[in-house]
Structures are given as structure tokens and as C-alpha cells.
Amino acid sequence: MTMGPSDLDAILTEVRARVRKKRESGEYGPDLDAALTLPLPGGRPIFSEELKDPFQALPEVLDEDIAYDPKSRKRYVGPVITVARRTLIGLLRWWLAAITERQERVNQLVARALFDLRDRPTPGLEKRLRKIELWHEDFVAANLHSVYFQARFGGDEPVIRRQSEAFVDLYKGRSRVLDLGSGRGIFLQLLKEHGIGGYGVDLDPRMVAQCREKGLEAHEVDALTHLRQIEAGSVDGLYARHLAEHILPGELVEILRACRRALAPGAPTVFVTPNPKTLTVGAHTFWTDPQHLRPIPPDLFKFYLEVEGFTDVELRTFEPSERRLNEDVPAGPIRENVKLLNETLFGDRDYAVIGHAPK
């Protein structure tokens, strides 16, 4: 066996898994954390450490006393040196006091200026931030009347139900399945009907209210925050239908990482999203929702899960296009071409990437 960068990656992955396991089992608890961050006794921390958090260190350093012991411990000449030092200190006292006094003033002024800068926002920052917010609102057409939009373009409840039903079996026997972006609670309802415990989170308060009216558990919180808040391993299944296309790739990766912590080992995980491999989806229907940020090619999504350690990752496409070219033509090149065109243009409109949380 020779070592390569990938071997090192594997070692580090296992190292992290070991640490995580010990954290989860409670072996590596807060008391050990305290030991690992115990300050060096006997004085100030190493200055290079303080530099990492100067605002915390600054007030303490400013208040620090400097002790100087003029006593010399040398044999025979010690007392003479001590007297000489004391005399010098006496002679220089007022000059040194003037210098240190000025330095003290400089230090106080600089510290005050820094704290003020930190606490008082930069002039114009608010305005610039608001501009960015506006840009984002425009980007996703946040001013659109969502109720009308839903009525015109929103999915049909029976259709969504039929689609979701295909995945229910994966969660058989699970007791706490999390539906990210639970919407009207169609999947939660299905889980309930099959005797599977579950709950949802959604950003839209109206959706959360609808769920609660139906007696389903739902919380108004964004996916990533929620995943980071809950206890490690406390969820034993995850379902996220049409969530991934509403967020940026980096956030998706963060969600997967947070899932890794939040999910019990082996928990089934399903993400459903439009299938841009079908060109009529990727080039057209995907964009009928202005809140869609970018399409995710199925192979890329599969890779995202694999690279975060999810196991047995597979892709499943569904929802065939309604209109297709007629394949009822004489066998031979023409039929092959028509088939290829159908596949490329009029293939399945959605896909699911299915995996299991890392063990």
C-alpha cells in the first residue's frame, strides 16, 4: 500500500467520524471541551491566541499591571546592583511617567476608536445592505402575489400525493421523519396514514398554519437553522420535495452536512427536484417559478450526497412528459432518432435522489 492524497482524505473522514461518535455517545462532553480550551495558567494567554479575538483581549491587556522587581539575586554584587537600579528608577521616574502617561492616553484612544468602529455601523452600510436585499427580492420576484401564483401554477394536490406516495415505503417503521419544506402537509398526511411518525418545517407561516389545522406537526423555521438546532441523530428519515432548486448550491451542501449530523445512521433521505436532463423542463417549465434559483443535474445531486458520505445513493426519475413524439414509425434509424429525441426533450419531468445517512 502506498499513500496518496485520497488515503489521507479517508483517514481524516474516519477521524472525524470517530470524534463525532464520541460526542454523540457523551464520552466527549462539555467537561472535556472545557479541558481542551483551558487557558494556560499563571498569566495572560499566548499573545498569538489573543490576536485571534482582540476585542476580548484588549480591555484586559489595557488593565494589566506590569510588575518589575529591581532586586538582583546575584551573589556579592547583588545589593549594589539593586541600589543602582533603584537609584536609576528614582531619577528617571518623572520622565518615564510622562512617556507612559502619553502611551496610556494613546492606548485608551485607540481602544475606544476600535470599539466605536465595531459598534457603530459604517456610514452608508445600511443603505448598501438594503440595496442587496432589494436586488435579491427582485431576483426571485418576491413582490409577486403568491396566492395568485399558486392558483395558476401550483401543483395539483392529487398529483403531488400520487408522486409522494411512491416514497412512503422507504420510511416504513420510522418514528421521526422530517419533511423539509413541508408545504400543505401532503407528505406528512401520507406518513400519518401509514402509521409513520413525522413532522415538517416550512418558511411560510400560512403553510405551517394549514398543516396544524390538519393536526400535523409543523414549525416555521428555515431548513438549515432547524437541522443545526435539533439534537444529533434525532431524526430517522428525511424528505425534501422541491426544496433544492430554491436554494443556492452552497446552502444545499450545508444542508447535507447538517443532515449528516441530525440524521440517525442509515436514515433514508429523499430529495425531489425538477429534472433538467429533460430539456423541456430545463429550458422551460423549470423557469415558470421565478423563485427557482438554478436547476440541478441529477448526476451532480447524486455526487453531492455521495461526497457527504450518504450510502447506496440512487436516482429515480418519474412524471413522464404528457406530449411525446410518436414512436410508432418503421423500425430502424428513424425510430431510434425519435426515441432519442423523446428521451432528451420529453423525458421524465422530476427526479428523486435517494440515499441513506452515513453510518
Partner: protein, 336 residues
Amino acid sequence: MSNHVFALRKKIRHWGYDSFAYAVEAKPGVADVRSYRRLFREVKPDDLLIVHFSMGSEVVDQLIKIPARRVLVYHNITPPEFFSGINPHAAAFARLGLRQLARIAPAFELGIGVSEFNRRALAQAGYEETTRVPILLDWEHFAVPPNEAVLARWKGLRSVLLFVGRISPNKRQDDLVRMLAYYRRCIDPEAQLVLVGAFRDQPQFHARVVALIERLGLGGAVHFAGGVEDASLLAYYRAATAFVSLSEHEGFGVPLLEAMRFRLPVVAYNAAAIGETVGAAGVLLQERDLAETAEAAAMVGERTELREALVAAGEKRVLDFDPDKVAERTRQVLGI
């Protein structure tokens, strides 16, 4: 004074030149080193003066007035931030050294960094001609039987974590101690940490690390071996289960290569020149996480296959710093 100087002197003499080592302040007991004062009368304009620089000194400004070809070898200066508040004296000399490094740049025809990290520092300090030549290692002084007493004490224990380097705030022995707290709680309650290295220069830091050990209840688990002779050092490398470095500043990191040479797997936090010295022949940690460091050290100690792979990679890595190759390169850049 580093072994590098003596190894270099040996090579230069071997090439048929007269070569002498001079020191501003030589450790007592180091034979055959001349006082720097003799430089002023002994060096002739045709001579080559190789200045090894790693700390500020009052005499540097005088040295550069000696008429001769002048080359600087930079071993790096520990940034003063590590000493500030702990050892004001060392901090002041480090600051002085950094200022001097820049000030004396025009006096040298060439600046040699013993690592790319050091070479970059030289270029930043204003050295026009810079190059990298690694430290010239001399394996011959390890051609001794390992110290039996050390082997008998440490060999065969399940976890003996070793770090070799002066006890100094930049080497972060304090974090090694904290890491041991995790190791003993979560991996092996009998684990031992051996810190080889002189603590003469940094008594304040040493005392505080000792206090930390007491505070963490690790008395008896951390062994300060002090500066040791080659036979003992060899025995420590042979007896340990992993070499662990959490050092935040190294200009090169000779002990990393010594560990590899003596078949000890290396786990190191990647800082300063450490990454380029270790290469892919050790577990290089990009994030400073003590728990992960401990687990990595345990893994390389326990897994035979992994250990063998790292040892093999380490032995191969050492060949990249083969003394003959380095000597040849030195000769080339010095133009002798």
C-alpha cells in the same frame, strides 16, 4: 547552534576548502566553534561568509561590514507574538531580528531559505536573489545504538506520543498537553506524552505548561525529557507510537524528518513550513482540532496497515532530503 552548520562545514571541508564555524553565543560544551570576534580579523575579501540567521542580535550590523562574499541562510524567526507577555526578552529579540533581516538585505548577494516558506519571507523582506535549499541533514551522528534505558522505559506501551522541539510557545506544547487530556479520556487512559527539547530558553512558558498539566490532572502522564543526546533521541523515536506536532511556527521542522527516518508515523498540524516538509508522508491536519489530532495519532499507532504505509511513505520522503543531493545543490547555489 544547529547541526546544519556542522554538517555544512563538514561538506565544505570535504570539497577541499577551509571552513570554520563562528558563533555569537555558543552553547557551552559545543567544541570547535570560534567566537564571532575572530571573524573581523580572519575573514579575507575572497572568502565566503555564510550567515545563519534565526534571531536578532546586536552584532549583525557589524558582521555585514566584513568585506567578503556574503550569503544569508534563513532559518526563520519565531514571530514575537508568541513571546509577547510570556517572555518579553525573547519578544524583543524576535522583533529586532525581523527589523534586521530587512535592513541587512542589501549586504547579501543571495538569501537562502531552508524552506519555501522561509524563501518567501526573505523575498518579502527585500532580498533580491533568493532560493530554497533544504537543511543539510547529517544522519551519521545517529549511527549509535539507541539508549537502552529509554527503550526499556517506553517501548511496548500502547500509546506514547512524542514531540521533539524546544519547549516554546510557538511549538504549542500546551496544546499537546490539552490533546493528551482527550486522548486519555476517550482513547487510552494510560497514554503518555513525551516532550523532548530544552526548556532552558523559555522557563516561563515551561512553568506554565507544568501548571496546566497539574490543573488537568495529567501529572505523571507528561514527561519532559529535556535536551537529550543522540542515542536517547533515537530511542524515543523507536519507542514512541506516533510523532505529534501542533507547532504553529517552524522554519523547516527537522524532527519531522527524523521521525520519518526512524519509522515513526507523523501527525502534524499544517502551519508555516510544516506542510512542505511533511509532504504526503504524514497525516497533515488542516484544521486545528485537538480531538481530531488525538484520534489521528491513535489511528496511525493502532492500524498496522496504515502505520506501515505511512512509515514507507516517510522513508521515501526522507530521500527527498538526501544529504548528498542537498550538498550538491548547496555547492551549486554558492558557486563553489
